[in-house]
Symmetry: C2
Subunit: 179 residues, 2 copies
Amino acid sequence: MAMDRKVILYISMSLDGYIATKDNSLDFLSIVEQEGEDYGYIDFVKSVDTVIIGRKTYEKVIEMGYEYPHKDKDVYIVTRTTKPSIGNFKFYTGELTQLVNSLKNQSGKYIYCDGGAEIVNELIINDLVDEYIISVIPILLGDGIKLFKDGRPEQKLELVSAKQFDKGLTQLHYKLADK
Amino acid sequence: MAMDRKVILYISMSLDGYIATKDNSLDFLSIVEQEGEDYGYIDFVKSVDTVIIGRKTYEKVIEMGYEYPHKDKDVYIVTRTTKPSIGNFKFYTGELTQLVNSLKNQSGKYIYCDGGAEIVNELIINDLVDEYIISVIPILLGDGIKLFKDGRPEQKLELVSAKQFDKGLTQLHYKLADK
């Protein structure tokens, strides 16, 4: 059964709720960098077999000279333009809601949404995120791209854990209260 | 010396950053109510001798049939209309920045800002808040009055503590990194 196949948002935000600055910089994440501390990322990634990412965010990684990771997973790059798959990286041009519902009806491990802001917002607004793992960075950015935009449905949450780390990062893990 | 006389913001917000719904309701706070648990409020209030509150928020308390607490403290009700003081409750019609700077130059205990959103935002935007004690309520309200509005200066923070409570409230305590 696929009833426990969840969509997890694993993301960092500043205390004032921004996931990036207005010009899409993530430089503020450097204040919590610490050798040997991955804030649970590798363990989290092991629990995942499917990744959903927006086309712009995917291309930004490539443009920065990186290979997109997660080669061992099913990766759906959400885009408006059809392109041939690259290995198990598929370019998906359909409805995000349909993709997620279809994935949730298949058996498998967790589904990880790797951004960007547009895809994240569409998942949240359509009530498709099952768990939030939010790393709160000790900074007020003052302005930028909000994780949570106005005009979403109300959702009660259940706190799974709150973890405090040396560099001042706090990782808040919630699941939807009804699920 | 008054160098350690700090302005503390002790406030609750939903995970998505709202301090109240659009129609000013705080009903969502009831999900963390627990007998015998005050989330450190009484201890915090003991560290304070001065309270700053906006006129609208002050009147809302009165209209709800409560007496405004903090009778043992200097209370500044920030308003545009001059009114005679009531005991140690003073109606303050001047500049908020001037009030805070003048209070910081006097010796005393901590200064507590008790809201509302307008006063809080003016303090934050003018870099007058020294410590943030934010109780994160396990709910996404979806919409409402934001604690942090766009267009503030960037401020690096230092995490003092992160405390997790039974009802899913997480209390994050920060101070400005430079202070």
